[in-house]
Symmetry: C3
Subunit: 295 residues, 3 copies
């Protein structure tokens, strides 16, 4: 058959209802049929994925793809592992993993930071606040991958240190870790040029009396969408907005990038049948959007 098969996206969601956000975004990226599955458990993945692998010929498998979402990033990771185990040989379809929007949000934050440094973060000192949550862990991992000299903060040093271990295991680079308490924060951030805050909603991660006294600081990015934001003085719609001596990004400012990356990632699913789009691959998709067109 010469014609392309209809593009089918199978939305595997771990929450009580499959995300409307993910559904509408995927539809706008371009697909023909969306199959929504809710409350998906890892032990149910095999039959569902067999139905994706064994219904089309090898040349048509790129028109079937899987999206893994839901509120819990941990539950989503368990699904992703289960999905990868089912594939074998050429019997596979592309997968986008973005539970809680963690991967697209982290990629967008790092892409926003990259824009402020003319496209490269290698050697740039950067700190992540709230680095032990699902978004913060990914932001820190992506910064390390980009060569930023990364420090990660949490209220409890122990947890920051555990995340540093995990990032070292994944990337080969160990970020520094610090306890982000009122008394230690100023010293911990000394010399950083980028601060990205990925703390819990309504938790203040960085008072302006601290960041205004960091002369090296150039960029503040706050991923909290609900005011009061984590970084005092940043507004939710900031998009490279001058605040004091730095440029600030709020969650809505980053959100524009996030939506572009999310949609391009969905389109990427239908370009081949063997993509596994996790944080690194999703950041690469964002960087390709930003790359100048070839002459």
């Amino acid at each position: 058959m010469a014609d392309a098969k209809p593009r089918i996206l199978i939305q595997l969601d771990t929450s009580p209802h499959a995300s409307v956000f993910d559904a509408v975004t995927a539809i706008d990226a371009g697909l023909d049929h969306l199959l929504q599955y809710r409350e998906v458990q890892p032990d149910q993945v095999r039959d569902l994925i067999h139905g994706a692998m064994f219904t089309r010929g090898p040349g048509d498998l790129k028109s079937t793809a899987v999206f893994i979402g839901g509120a819990s990033v941990d539950a989503g990771e368990a699904l992703l592992e289960a999905v990868k185990k089912v594939f074998f040989g050429p019997f596979r379809v592309s997968v986008l993993f973005d539970s809680s929007g963690a991967n697209t949000t982290a990629a967008a934050a790092v892409l926003a930071a990259t824009r402020e440094f003319e496209g490269a973060l290698a050697g740039v000192p950067a700190a992540v606040l709230g680095a032990t949550g699902p978004v913060g862990r990914r932001v820190a991992r992506l910064l390390c991958r980009q060569g930023a000299v990364t420090r990660i903060g949490s209220r409890e040093l122990e947890r920051a240190s555990q995340v540093a271990d995990s990032i070292q295991a994944q990337t080969g680079v160990r970020p520094a870790s610090f306890a982000s308490t009122t008394t230690t924060l100023a010293a911990a951030l000394d010399g950083v040029q980028i601060v990205i805050s990925a703390g819990a909603a309504c938790a203040r991660t960085l008072p302006d009396e601290v960041w205004t006294k960091l002369p090296a600081l150039k960029v503040l990015i706050d991923l909290n969408a609900v005011p009061p934001l984590g970084i005092e003085g940043v507004e939710v719609a900031d998009r490279s907005t001058p605040r004091g001596h730095v440029r600030a990004w709020g969650a809505i400012g980053v959100g524009g990038l996030k939506m572009k990356i999310h949609k391009q990632a969905v389109r990427t699913l239908f370009a081949s049948n063997d993509a596994i789009l996790d944080a690194e691959e999703i950041l690469a998709i964002g960087q390709a959007i930003d790359a100048p067109a070839p002459p």
Copy 2:
């Protein structure tokens, strides 16, 4: 982007399965993607509606809409209230509320009655039997809004009186209430020109020995779809059919109007992003269908 976004309808249903009836009707009205959600609880509405509000730009939000349905009208009303609370400023999408078909059925019944009175019910004496159920309450409310001089009957006077209170609170007009018992019915209906019966399935609301002796009576409408109907002598397929000295409508006769109104209401959803279509708005949609085309 110049092109219109795909039209997405989000079907929020409170029942164990999302209604096939509502799904097929919406598809036939015209949409690109239907997202079905079942067993939706009010406390789950916020995340679902955020996914509708925050995925498209202001100019594109009219291509996303919400349908609230399910067997229980009370549960649907709770969802509608929850949905309305989530919207703010321009961040909103249009909503059609039609749990159990109550709004479209009531609107169709009142539109059928209106047709028999040359387009206006103002001053027309009318009675609703089975007026305390979800459809009956809406029929009574819409009749009051149209200026009909309305009486509402229930087997228990107390319940009819409570519904009258509620309609007065909503419309500013208090319908009369009566107990629809065998001995009181003839007197209670004296002088009415319209009787609309919205009683429970298989419950006789009006024997023919009563209505044949009401000389002022012009129209009988029975919304019960399953014989035996509530009004003795009316047939389910009646559509302005002469029965004795009156014209009769049965549930299938009214149903043709109901389907037209339902589909036009779905189309109306995609005309703006701020419509909330409850009983009154749905009746207005029906009246616009019946209105003569402008010269």
Copy 3:
């Protein structure tokens, strides 16, 4: 309205998730909207089917159809019975029943066998191993309908005999039954030209030391998709492949036919509003695919 209505398939699935396999296959057969329902119980069928029957006019009902699936063939049969009871007069839509793929698999196996006998099985001695499972029972029934002289084997003679009773009640023809134990198998299969194995995964039904000594044997078909197959010496991808003195079919070889039959059965749904496609009707669809085009 002159235009055809969108083709809607209502997937009623009895399992915790609606089958992805059935969904993708149906989409590839050609439809406009797929409505997926999971965990469907027989007592919920009435409302769902009413929504299919009462939403379109008689001339448009052929554009709405129902697929019954899920892991349990017994649960699917209960749904099919419930669905058939809801229809009356012209108020009906076409239904395809293929829980666990049992009907399309059985039809494909019998069609594969038919191809090896120049299009007709009348009078051909055939045996079914693992004949008491859902696929095996259908294979045996279809062989009897085609006039094959059929023997059915199970490890327990009692169960094979019960299945023979049931097939006699359905077709008027009683297949012979036998206990398929190591010591009895060779004698039980004496003289057969076809053996179709539909046993449980990983259960050996026929060693090669038995079938290589059956001089009349011409065709071996093994429906087990997971090696080790039931029939020793047959490979899963065999498709009329010479093995010793016979031609062999494995599950993937039969699977190509199964997919063609499945898709053609979905297309058949939308050709009328009154088809009930169970095993026999599905085999007839397969035979029509194989039939030479009219001159």
